[in-house]
Amino acid sequence: MAETTVKYEKTKGLTDKPLSYCPGCTHGIVHKLVGEALVDLDILDKAIGVASVGCSVFSYEFFNCDAQQAPHGRACAEATGIKRVLPDNIVFTYQGDGDLASIGIAETIHAANRGENITVIFVNNAIYGMTGGQMAPTSLKGQKTTTSQDGRDTDWTGNPIKISEMLATIEGVAYIERVSVHDPKHYLKAKKAIKKAFQYQKEKKGFTLIEVVSTCPVNWGMKPVDAMKWLSKEMIPVFPLGVYKDKGDNHES
Amino acid sequence: MNHNVKVAGFGGQGVMMFGQVLAYSATYDDINGLWFPSYGPETRGGTANCSVIVSDKQINSPTFKNANHLVAFNLPSLEKFRKNVTDNGLILYNSSLIKDEVKEEGRLCIGVPVNDIATELENEKVANMAMLGAYLELTKIFTDQTIEAIIKKFLGERKAHLLDVNMKAIQKGKDYIKNLGVTYA
């Protein structure tokens, strides 16, 4: 029998439960990055994830750690409740843009303002996925959704809300970066950012949020590859990638 | 023994404290005390009132239609509550502010110039204590020792230096009643 060497192994940060996401969706990649970060930093057995409402509602079944499932928009409040009684554990939320930027924006802003020492993984795909492609506060100008069928009219519904820019103005925030996973180069940057956010939490630096600009091929009505292209061409100009706030390695708080 | 007491006046006249001293004293003496305030916007600047029940039995209803004792620090309070005093009840009023003599059939009505007493003591804030002294002299429901212990507790360490003037005001209230030669209890 030929000798086999392991070249690649699924991270122990995820369970063996098959992901429930649609083909071509980037949630799977982001899950993997989170799982890997928890393993790499040796914090998986201290981690408590908070799942939100939306496509990632089942994420409590995928992250290989303890978890809670929050009501729509309330993940940051629930994470606060956990973190305050278990300050030495690692607490993170995993939320979409409908959940975080719309119904849960108050919880998010105030958790950031308190400098809650939690990590928020914010997956922004500019649409409500699970409920069937409705307009999100992050939907682009002119974007066709099931509730903006002629394209988002920004005079009527406002412009896409920019969470990373907004939260970066808040004192309690330790680190915010907007990343993307649409190609290997950006994937590696995203990996670094997510790991750094958890590292900061480990060092009790304060609130960290990584916004991942993501795709929703099914509700965008595109093939996965076209969705990646659309993300790069249309979304990133509206949601520019980069570090929006970093209190730095030496800033202990 | 069961006394339903209504204490009323302007906010800032020490109405709430007067009532609380009675309830604290009841607890101190190991009988039952219950105090509740009119609360909300009207207590700020407007009229304030509180209800107190002192009883050696279990206190049931926290509300009562007619008080055994009404303590009125100003005219609006007197007018509001004077018809809700039981037969043989006591109406104690602030004659520094209520100049006309108060009369209610079958009720003992006593005016005490508590603001004047407080002025004599050079501390406007102890008017309520002068009223308390008068009230205690008439009703005799608590001993001097109990009252002093409660006033001490109220003042705490921060205001301990005010114990003397408070006790003096109580004594002057008592003396005022003694000099009138009126008895009630």
């Binding site: 369970t15 998986l44 057995d45 201290k46 981690a47 408590i48 908070v50 509602v57 089942f58 409590y60 079944e61 290989n64 750690c65 303890d66 978890a67 809670q68 499932q69 929050a70 009501p71 309330r74 409040a77 629930e78 994470a79 606060t80 409740g81 956990i82 973190k83 305050r84 009684v85 278990l86 554990n89 690692i90 108050a106 919880e107 802003i109 105030h110 308190r114 | 609380q20 309830a23 604290y24 009841a26 607890t27 190991d30 039952n32 005390g33 219950l34 105090w35 509740f36 305030p37 609360y39 909300g40 206190i59 049931n60 209803s61 926290p62 509300t63 009562f64 239609k65």
Partner: protein
């Protein structure tokens, strides 16, 4: 510790501390503000958690998080605030997590007023949250009973893994009364919270998940059946009520809870002097409601008067429990108006005018 005189809201806070509360999350609202004020000082000073949230909604979800993490946790609020908390309450009940919710009722509907009321009986017992969930709701009548109940509530919540609500009106919150904080609490065997999300390091080989989602209808129905079995057990073990003045067959029976029950006690004494013997069923748990108490009403009784500081909410449970056996009348005041005992005396004397069914 001897009896002390204490304001109801502060007594809620101190009772919670005596009951071992680890964390409080809440939002300011009248007439319960002394609860968070007292706890902000005394919890933080003792290394426990006090956090003022940005909203009622946030507060209850912080409670959810901390309860899931195994802490003894509570919140307190008043009528419109409890309305906002209903979503979270449903989730906590569904995830079978223990917590204490204190509700100090004020007049409604809407913003209503801030004076005492019992108009949130439906809110407490029927809930505004979604689904077939049930709380355990106690409605004490004195500060002493409230303190004893709150201390025990944490144990009851832990035992059944279910949220407990202590429901009082603003008068109990605002009044001061003599109270003993050291009355012993019934001892219960409380299993370790091995379900808490504390990190797998604390329970290797098992992931703990606090969750209310059950996407498979078969599984969700099974869960609901299991929940109902739990609620039946709670009804059997934790239903509380007091029968007042039933030694001799009462002519009339009043049903009242909380402050209204105290007012009725005085009315019953007044009525006795007039030669009218009146008894009272005083539900202490309003959920589960003590319907078995109605079996003790004598056949010859002339009627049942349900008395509330609302326009007739517990009346539903009284009608259901009476099941057509006696005439049922209703007396209610609302909006913050608290009656004197004389009004109850009058309602009994003119019972025929009060009959609703």
């Amino acid at each position: 510790m001897a009896k002390v005189l204490m304001k109801g809201n502060e007594a809620i806070a101190l009772a919670a501390i005596k009951g071992g509360v680890d964390a409080f999350y809440g939002y300011p609202i009248t007439p319960q503000n002394e609860v968070p004020e007292y706890l902000s000082k005394h919890l933080l000073a003792n290394g426990k958690v006090f956090l003022q949230s940005e909203s009622e909604v946030s507060a209850i979800n912080m409670v959810y998080g901390a309860a899931g993490a195994g802490a003894r946790v509570m919140t307190s609020s008043s009528s419109p605030g409890i309305a906002l908390k209903q979503e979270g309450i449903s989730y906590i009940a569904a995830a079978e997590l223990p917590c204490l919710i204190v509700s100090v009722m004020r007049g409604g509907p809407g913003l209503g007023g801030i004076q005492p009321s019992q108009a949130d009986y439906y809110q407490a017992t029927r809930g505004g949250g979604n689904g077939d969930y049930s709380l355990i709701v106690y409605a004490p009548e004195t500060i002493q009973e409230m303190v004893d109940t709150i201390k025990e509530s944490f144990d009851i919540a832990d035992y059944y893994r279910n949220p407990v609500m202590v429901l009082v009106d603003g008068l109990i919150g605002q009044m001061m009364e003599s109270v003993d904080f050291d009355k012993p609490v019934k001892e219960r065997f409380l299993p370790e919270k091995d379900w808490a999300t504390t990190g797998t390091a604390n329970h290797p080989g098992r992931r703990n998940v606090a969750n209310s989602l059950e996407i498979d209808p078969v599984a969700l129905e099974q869960k609901n059946i299991r929940l109902q079995e739990k609620y039946k057990l709670i009804k059997k073990n934790e239903t509380r009520y007091e029968m007042v003045n039933f030694e001799e067959e009462p002519e009339y029976v009043i049903v009242a809870y909380g402050t209204m029950a105290r007012i009725c006690r005085s009315a019953i004494e007044m009525l006795a002097k007039d030669g009218i013997n009146v008894g009272m069923i005083r539900p202490i748990s309003i959920l589960p409601f003590p319907d078995e108490a109605f079996d003790e009403i004598p056949k010859k009784a002339k009627g049942i008067l349900c008395a509330e500081l609302s326009m007739g909410q517990m009346l539903d449970d009284v009608l259901i429990s009476n099941n057509g056996r006696h005439k049922v009348g209703f007396f209610g005041r609302s909006g913050g108006m608290v009656p004197d005992p004389e009004e109850i005396v009058d309602a009994i004397k003119n019972f025929s005018e009060r009959v609703v069914k």
